[in-house]
Amino acid sequence: MSIRTALRITPALLLLGLALAGPWIAPHAVDAPVTAPYAEPGSAAVLGGDQLGRDVLSRLLAGGRDLVLSSLLVAVLVTGTAAVLGAIGAVRPIVGRLVERTADVLMLLPAVLGILLVTLSWPGGGRFAVIAAAVVLGVPYAVRLAASAASPVAATGYVEAAAAGGERLWYLVVREILPNLRATLLALFGLRFVAAVYLVATAGFLQVGPQPPAADWALMIRENSSGILLNPWSVVAPGIAIGLLALSVNLAAATLAPQTGRKAVTVL
C-alpha cells in the first residue's frame, strides 16, 4: 500500500474510530438536560444545547455508533450475498438470468420508498427492518458488479477443468472463483458502505429507524431543525458529521477500487 493510498484511507478510519468510541468519551449523559433549550455554545456545553437543552457535543459523539455499525452490517451482508450470487450466476447461467431479471424489477423501486414500505409494514422491526430493507434493495445493484467480475474468472481454464472434473457448485464458487474477486469485492464493499450510510441516515431522518430519545445524527438534524437560528450547531454539527462520514468513506472506497476506470459503477 502506497503512502498516497494510506493518506486517502486515514480520514475514513479516524472518523469511523471516533464514531465507534464516541459514546465512551461523551462528557455528559445523552438524555439529561444540561442547558436551556437551544442554548448557545458556552462553558457548560461546547456546542450548545438542543431542543430539550441536552448537550449537543455529547449527543454528537454518541450518535454515530449505531449509524456506522448498521451501515457496516448492511455493507457486509450486501457484498457477501452479491459475491455468492454473482459467482453462482457465472457458473449457472439460469441463476444469472434470474438474478438479472429480479434486479430489473427492483430498479423500479426508489430505495427510500422501499425502506418506508418495509419499516411501516413491519412496525416492530425498528432498526432491524431498516437493515433488512437496505440489504434487499442493495443486492440487485451489487450483483451486477460481482457478476461482471465473476464471469471472466468462471471462463478460465482451471475453473472449467474443475467443473469438468465433477467438483460441486459450492466448491467452485467458494474455492475457485471468490478468492479471485478480492479486489473487486473490496471496492464493492466500500461503495455499498457509502450507499448504506445514505440509506440508514435517511431512514433516521424520516424517523423510521432509531426513535426519538436515542442520539442519532440524522434524528438530531430532524429534531433540532426548528431551532436552527437559535443554536445552529445543534443542526450543523450532525450535518457535518454525516457529510464527513459520507465523503471520507467515499474517498477511501474510490482509492481502493481497482483502476479499470472505464465503466462507471452504480453506487446506489
Binding site: 430489473d104 424489477v105 427492483l106 430498479m107 423500479l108 423501486l109 426508489p110 430505495a111 427510500v112 420508498l113 422501499g114 418506508l116 414500505l117 418495509v118 411501516l120 409494514s121 413491519w122 412496525p123 416492530g124 422491526g125 457509502v194 450510510v197 445514505y198 441516515a201 435517511t202 431522518f205 424520516l206 424517523q207 423510521v208 440524522a218 438534524i221 430532524r222 431543525s225 436552527i228 437560528l229 445552529p232 443542526v235 450543523v236 450535518g239 454525516i242 457529510g243 459520507a246 465523503l247 468513506v249 467515499n250 474517498l251 474510490a254 476506470g261 472505464r262 465503466k263 462507471a264 452504480t266 453506487v267 446506489l268
Partner: protein, 339 residues
Amino acid sequence: MAGQLTPDTTAPSASPVTPGRRTARTPVRVLARVGTVLLKRAVLLALLLALVFGTVEMLPGDAATATGERGESAADLAARRELLGLDRPVLERFRDWMTGLPTGDLGTSARGEKVTDLLSTAFPNTLLLGGIALLLTALVSLALGCWAALRPAGRLDRAVSGTATAVLALPEFVVAVALVLVLSLWTGWLPAVTLTGADGTPASWDMLVLPALALTIPQAGWNIRIVRAALADEARAPHVETAVLDGLPPHRVLTHHVLPGALPAIAAGLATSTGMLLGGAVVVETIFNYPGIGSVLASAVTDRDSPVIAGVTALSGAVITGVLLLADLVRDTVTGARR
C-alpha cells in the same frame, strides 16, 4: 489515463456498431421493436406492483391495527378490518388492487380515505419538483461533463471529477440543511419554507429553488461521472479517430462525433437518477414543507399507513418505467441510425 479525445490506436474498437443485421428499418420492424420494449417494461412494472403488494401483506401488522386506539376491543378492530376489506382473501384483494390501478384507484388508506384523493394534488407537485431537478441535473452534468472532456486529464477535468465524486455520496437532507443555512438564514436570498397557494401548488417560484437544488447537487455529482465515462468510452471509437485525423476542431468532434454515440449511456444514467430523485424528494419536501408526496408520506409514517406507501410506490414505479422507456428508445434510435 482514461478518457481522452484523441484516438487511442492500441485500444480495441469500442464502437457500438453491430455487424450483420443490415435490414432496412421498415415501419413494421420499428413498431415491433417499440412493442417489445413496451411489453417488457409493462411486465416489469406488474411484477414490481405484485412485489409491493406482497411485501405489505407478508410483513406483520396491517392498517387496521396501525390506526387502532389504545384499549380498543377486538370487535372494533374486526369491524374496521371488514370496513377496509382486510378480511377478504389476499389473492382477491390483490386482483382488485391490480385491476383498480389502470382506472386510477389506488385503494383505501388506513383512515378510510381514497389514496388517489390524497395524492391527486401532491403527486403532480412532486413531479414538478422532480422534473425541474432532473432537467437541472441533465443540463449541469452534460455541460460540466463535456467541458471536462474537452480538456482530458487536465486540472479542470480532475477538479470536476473530484467534486462530482465528493458530492454524490451526500444525503439530500444534509445538502438541504447546508443550503437553508447559507442561502436562506445567513444571506436571506431565498425562502426557507414553501408556502402553499390556494390551488395547492407552491405560492411562488422562488420556493422551488432550494428544494430543487438540494435534489440536483447529489444527482449531478453522480451523472457528471456517467457523462464523463461515456464520453471517454466513445472517444476511443474509430470514427472519432477519423474525425480527429481530418483536423476537425475538438468541440465539433465532441458535439458531432462523440456525444451522439454516448447518448444512450447518458440517458440510461439520467433514467436511473429518476428513482433517486423521487426518493430524495420525499426527504427534501419534509425539510422545506413542500406540498408533495413527502408530506403525505410523513403523515403515513405516523399512521403506519402502508396502503398509502404502496400507492406512492406504484405511481413512482410507473413514472420510472416511463423514463426508462424513453432511455430505451434513445438507445434504439441511436444504435438503429448506425445500422
